[in-house]
């Protein structure tokens, strides 16, 4: 009798263990984002959560605070807490791969939004802004408005993020053909508004005669504008951003920012949530990567756009 009880106990334990793998039945979706210290990512996370809820899932947003160690903890917590899928905005293209693999090995699919991980088979799908093309269009507008000459500063985003380099490379793929345009400083400000302000204030000490600042996102563009306004140079120096954030769209309308490239976080977030839902329903043939087109926004076409997208 005792032996029979032990066997039953072992069978129950095995069933409990195997049950962890069967996440397909879970009705919970985790949203892990690189930072909630930037309104753009808040919008991305909240839109993904809203779409997942609309599709009938319980959701929770995790803030990685641009820290891969914290991101790793979030993945462990999400897997242990029985989340069936993760909608993910990575902190580091290389450093986040292990987290995605951890989830994949636990049977939890990961759908990347906006930012990429450097692995073609870790995530179930990656829905990414076509940053390079957006910055080629931005670069062309930059060259035209600068009349092919002048001194400029580039503020980069997080150096470990592919978007940082896709944007920078797209911009330089065009601008570098014009020898009259001289980049006097290139520095990272981690996609952060306050840091961008501090970095540009310090660059202005050494290069007070710049004509333009190209920033890898709108938060840095707004920080750069603040630094220029404080130095009394905002009228002369043109600022270019990237994202299509609310304050940058307002600033283009007011003539403070020259241009930005509009990303569509709503499309990326909703597609990721939709894919997670389809995964639960049995779909497995997702495209590994889907670029989402980015559009140039200037004072000439601002009437077509609102923050984070197009006017309906």
């Amino acid at each position: 009798m005792k032996r029979f009880q032990v066997v039953i106990l072992l069978v129950l334990m095995l069933a409990a263990c195997s049950g962890r793998k069967d996440t397909g039945e879970s009705k919970k979706i985790a949203i892990v984002v690189s930072t909630l210290n930037n309104p753009w990512f808040v919008f991305l996370a909240e839109t993904a959560a809203a779409k997942a809820q609309e599709l009938g899932y319980e959701t929770k947003i995790f803030d990685s605070q641009n820290n891969t160690a914290l991101e790793s903890n979030h993945f462990e917590n999400a897997i242990a807490s029985g989340y069936g899928a993760i909608l993910f905005n990575p902190t580091d293209a290389d450093g986040s791969v292990s987290n995605v693999m951890k989830a994949k090995n636990a049977g939890v699919p990961v759908f990347c939004m906006d930012r990429e991980v450097n692995s073609s088979d870790a995530a179930a799908s990656q829905i990414l802004s076509d940053s390079y093309s957006g910055c080629v269009a931005l670069g062309k507008y930059f060259v035209e408005t600068m009349h092919k000459k002048g001194k400029y500063v580039e503020l980069l985003g997080l150096v470990s993020d592919n978007n940082t380099w896709n944007r920078s490379k797209g911009f330089h793929s065009l601008v570098d053909y014009y020898p009259g345009l001289k980049m006097v400083a290139q520095q990272s400000a981690d996609f952060d508004r306050n840091k961008a302000m501090e970095v540009l204030e310090s660059i202005l000490q050494a290069h007070p005669d710049i004509d333009a600042v190209f920033c890898g996102n709108d938060a840095m563009a707004m920080g750069a504008y603040q630094a220029l306004a404080a130095a009394g140079k905002a009228e002369h120096v043109k600022v270019f951003g990237f994202d299509g954030a609310a304050d940058a769209i307002d600033a283009i309308g007011e003539g403070k920012i020259a241009a930005t490239a509009m990303q569509f976080p709503k499309i990326m977030a909703q597609t990721a949530a939709q894919y997670a839902d389809e995964y639960f329903k049995g779909r497995r043939d997702f495209p590994k990567k889907i670029p989402v087109a980015v559009e140039l926004v200037t004072k000439e076409n601002i009437e077509n756009y609102i923050a984070y997208g197009k006017k309906e």
Binding site: S133, K140, G170, I267, V292, A293
Partner: protein
């Protein structure tokens, strides 16, 4: 005696040998190169431009025909004749035409393309030959073949380099107002906010007819 000799002479040698053979130093560049052979974007672009793109160019739509089709049924024209690698409003067409050069400036050659009694003014880009139009308009390249998007974007940069280096110089030398020319190229259009008044074509093949 032997024990002492072992302790003071042979043992340190064994420890040093073991330690020496346990640690290897290699240049990070070499390890990275061995782990993932670097993608050759220039070779990929050359193969695409010489061997794949020419066949796709045969399917290019005549620019006046495209104008008529867009006027008749915008959605159907985009779904039938344009390509894009992802989601969004920006899509690319392969287009062709023949006409008279009406102006030449620093950035563009303006052409009045004529066919079947219709005329359409277009601009051929001769300065800003950049972006993904030529890579994406054919629909032949799949983003999922690439490990990361930087490799994929480098393909565009290399294709554009071929056009700037091999297609434009001889054409620019001969392009003059009043001359007739033929063109085949890629055109970017925004499906939601369509502006077809003054299309700018990124050239792939250019030819002065007379």
């Amino acid at each position: 005696m032997f024990k002492k000799a072992f302790k003071y002479a042979i043992l340190p040698v064994i420890i040093i040998l073991t330690a020496y053979n346990s640690v290897y130093f290699k240049k990070l560049d070499e390890v990275k190169a061995a782990a993932a052979p670097e993608f050759d974007a220039a070779a990929y672009a050359r193969n695409y431009f010489d061997n794949k793109l020419p066949e796709a160019l045969n399917k290019a739509v005549e620019i006046n025909q495209l104008a008529a089709m867009l006027q008749k049924d915008e959605e159907k024209t985009f779904s039938t004749h344009s390509n894009a690698l992802g989601i969004g409003n920006i899509r690319y067409f392969l287009v062709k035409g023949e006409g008279t050069i009406t102006a030449v400036d620093e950035n563009n050659v303006s052409v009045l393309a004529a066919a079947d009694g219709s005329e359409k003014p277009v601009k051929i880009a001769i300065e800003y030959v950049f972006g993904n139009a030529v890579r994406d308009a054919s629909g032949l390249i799949n983003i999922n073949e690439f490990e990361n998007t930087m490799d994929f974007n480098n393909v565009s940069a290399e294709i554009n380099k071929i056009i700037r280096g091999e297609v434009l110089p001889s054409f620019k030398a001969k392009a003059e107002k009043g001359k007739r020319m033929r063109f085949v190229g890629a055109l970017e259009l925004n499906q939601e906010h369509l502006n077809f008044d003054d299309p700018e074509i990124i050239p792939v093949k250019l030819e002065i007819v007379n």
